[in-house]
């Protein structure tokens, strides 16, 4: 597929990287879920992570904002190392937005309230200010008219767009997507992907766990293939899809294409 017309950011070594993951390991009890993960993400880079289920994709990105705890190695986000320290965790979570497979909107709050809750309680904004920002992002995801409704009244695609707006309100420098479209009906996938493409075009640093290969080809700078808790292969999208190197990658691609 075609290259996107945004400038390709430089692959920086360790300086200037938004996220640095070095030698990270994670275990669930005796089970070794993530093995020696090394990954650098530069500013503005858009990475798609794919792989069979249970390969540790979600776990890896959930480690980045400490929804999961890693046991070995380092995760550094914008120069802050992720440790037990609550202050560091708070700081990193403010910089990192996340969109979940099942949206995880707060069902007891309206769409707008979902968007502004963190602005009020974390950024300590006035309600009016927060609502302005909230509306701005709801407009951006093209559902300002739903602001006063409750999440339960929206379609899945609309809910996911609200979830994206909710994350954007916090003005994050990195966005994590954990299979954002896999719980949606086909006709809704497109509206969510469109929003994500729009976001990518605005220069947001993004890590997406997704099986939408079309999306990967359109927007990704890099595609990462994971299996068995390890990064098996990573490459530019075109090369990755046209010329996979590893057997497991080939097998995986043959199954989903």
């Amino acid at each position: 597929m075609s290259e996107t017309d945004t400038a390709k950011p430089e692959m920086s070594a360790s300086t200037g990287a938004m996220i640095q993951i070095q030698g990270m390991h994670k275990w669930y009890g005796e089970f070794h879920v993530l093995k020696d993960i090394n990954l650098n993400v530069a500013k503005g880079e858009r990475i798609v992570i794919c792989g069979p289920s249970g390969s540790g994709k979600s776990t890896m990105i959930r480690c980045i904002n400490r929804l999961e705890e890693h046991q070995q190695g380092k995760i550094i986000v914008e120069g802050t190392e992720l440790t037990d320290d609550v202050k560091h965790i708070d700081q990193i979570r403010r910089e990192v937005g996340m969109v979940f497979q099942h949206f995880n909107l707060f069902p007891h709050l309206t769409v707008l309230e979902n968007c502004i809750i963190a602005l009020i309680w974390v950024r300590k904004m006035s309600r009016r200010e927060a609502e302005e920002i909230g509306m701005k992002f709801l407009e951006k995801v093209k559902i300002p008219e739903q602001a006063r409704k409750y999440p339960g009244q929206l379609s899945g695609g609309q809910q996911q767009r609200v979830a994206i707006a909710r994350s954007l309100c916090m003005n994050p420098s990195i966005m994590l997507f954990d299979e954002p479209t896999s719980a949606l009906d086909p006709e809704m996938i497109k509206e969510v992907l469109d929003t994500m493409i729009q976001l990518a075009e605005s220069g947001m640093t993004m890590l997406c766990v997704t099986h939408e290969m079309g999306f990967a080809k359109t927007v990704a700078n890099r595609v990462i293939f994971m299996d068995g808790g390890e990064i098996i292969e990573e490459n530019e999208p075109e090369a990755f899809f046209s010329n996979p190197q590893h057997d497991r990658t080939k097998l995986f691609l043959s199954q989903i294409m």
Partner: protein
């Protein structure tokens, strides 16, 4: 349906007895007749029986002198008061034990429900064991156990357990110092009232300020400081106008102070421990009903755990907990009628027991007693329906 679908004419009318409307009308009329007939049958029988046996009827007995004493009365009462008064005394005693029981059971239930979900294995295990033991043993047995096996073997008044010279525990009850308000204490009450008003307005101001400027205010701490500090200052300024009346052994028993009779203690302990186990389960299921994704989403947008709990988890968990909680409150109130097994003078013991026996007017007395419980339970369930409707999640 019409016989010939092609004719286009108005559908032909079915025979009367085949029409659903007719059938349901007939059925309902028959039902009403049946219910009325049965009610009438029971009513005439009762009237006939009462008349036949020369049993007095009507509510005149309520204004007759009762002539018996009651162990615990919240309002002035002695033998010269009427049966109407005994009704009131019993009712208030029921409300007392229910109110205290609801408070304690909720406390125990919330602590145990949260403890059961604790990450500390031992704490979670203790909570589980507590819940599984106490909710699977009949309440009556628990009441009897606390009364006959735990409280009665306590020492006699003269060998009371002395807790600091102010609190005494023996098999006649738990004796606490009673506050004696001297002149000038009224100022403290006034200060407290002012503090409440101040805190109320402060909370409003803080909320508004936050909405306008985003600045947050330590409402909780400041409120507590005002609520306790202001009355305390006034209290000290007025020259500490409060003394404590200590219970002391005089004659056969302790006199003075506040007494919690063992009947109340046993009933209260059993009711709150038993109901607490059910509430703990409700709390646990409520918290579990909020999916883990909600917490993750809240963390992901940067909310701190305490804020997450307050704004995201609790409001959603309460939707599940409150209906179960109200029905437990209702059960507790109804179960307080087991008071009669240990001689606590509640409504059933005093009114449906002694009063019924002295007057012999079973129908009136039992009707009044059931009426009270029905009123309580209908009030609570009306509230619950209202709450459910209000809090129902809006969905497509």
């Amino acid at each position: 349906m019409s016989a010939d679908p092609l004719s286009g004419a108005a559908p032909a009318k079915a025979a009367l007895w085949r029409r659903p409307v007719f059938r349901s009308t007939v059925f309902q009329v028959l039902l009403i007749l049946g219910v009325v007939a049965i009610a009438n049958y029971l009513f005439t029988n009762t009237l006939h029986n009462l008349e036949q046996r020369g049993i007095s009827t009507g509510f005149g007995f309520l204004s007759m002198e009762a002539g018996f004493g009651i162990l615990q009365t919240l309002i002035p009462y002695d033998e010269t008061y009427t049966f109407g008064r005994t009704f009131l005394v019993g009712l208030l005693n029921t409300l007392l034990v229910s109110g205290l029981g609801i408070f304690l059971a909720t406390l125990i239930g919330f602590v145990m429900g949260v403890a059961r979900l604790s990450s500390n294995w031992l704490i979670a295990r203790i909570a589980t064991v507590y819940i599984e033991i106490f909710r699977n043993i009949p309440l009556l047995l628990q009441i009897l156990f606390w009364y006959f096996a735990v409280l009665q073997p306590l020492p006699q008044p003269r060998q009371s357990l002395d807790l600091g010279g102010m609190f005494f525990l023996n098999n006649r009850g738990f004796y606490l110092p009673a506050p004696v308000f001297e002149a000038g204490f009224n100022l403290v009450w006034i200060a407290l009232a002012i503090a409440v008003v101040v805190v109320f307005f402060m909370a409003r101001w803080a909320r508004r300020r936050q909405e306008e400027t985003g600045q947050q205010f330590h409402t909780v701490y400041v409120s507590l400081a005002i609520l306790f500090g202001l009355p305390l200052l006034v209290f000290l300024a007025a020259g500490t106008p409060l003394t404590w009346e200590l219970p002391a052994l005089k004659g056969f028993n302790f006199k003075g102070g506040v007494t919690i009779i063992p009947e109340l203690m046993a009933l209260l302990t059993a009711l709150s421990i038993y109901t607490g186990a059910f509430i703990a389960e409700a709390v646990r299921s409520g918290i579990l009903a909020v999916s883990h994704g909600q917490t993750e989403a809240a963390y992901a947008v940067g909310l701190r755990p305490s804020v997450t709990l307050r704004l995201v988890i609790i409001p959603q968990a309460l939707r599940v907990i409150i209906p179960q909680l109200t029905s437990q409150f209702l059960n507790l109130t109804k179960n307080s009628s087991l008071a009669t097994a240990v001689g606590y003078p509640d409504l059933v013991a005093v009114f449906a027991g002694t009063t019924l026996n002295q007057t012999g007017q079973a129908v009136e007395v039992i009707a009044m007693t059931m009426g009270v419980y029905l009123t309580i339970s209908l009030t609570i369930s009306t509230f619950m329906n209202w709450y459910n409707k209000k809090k129902q999640l809006v969905e497509r």
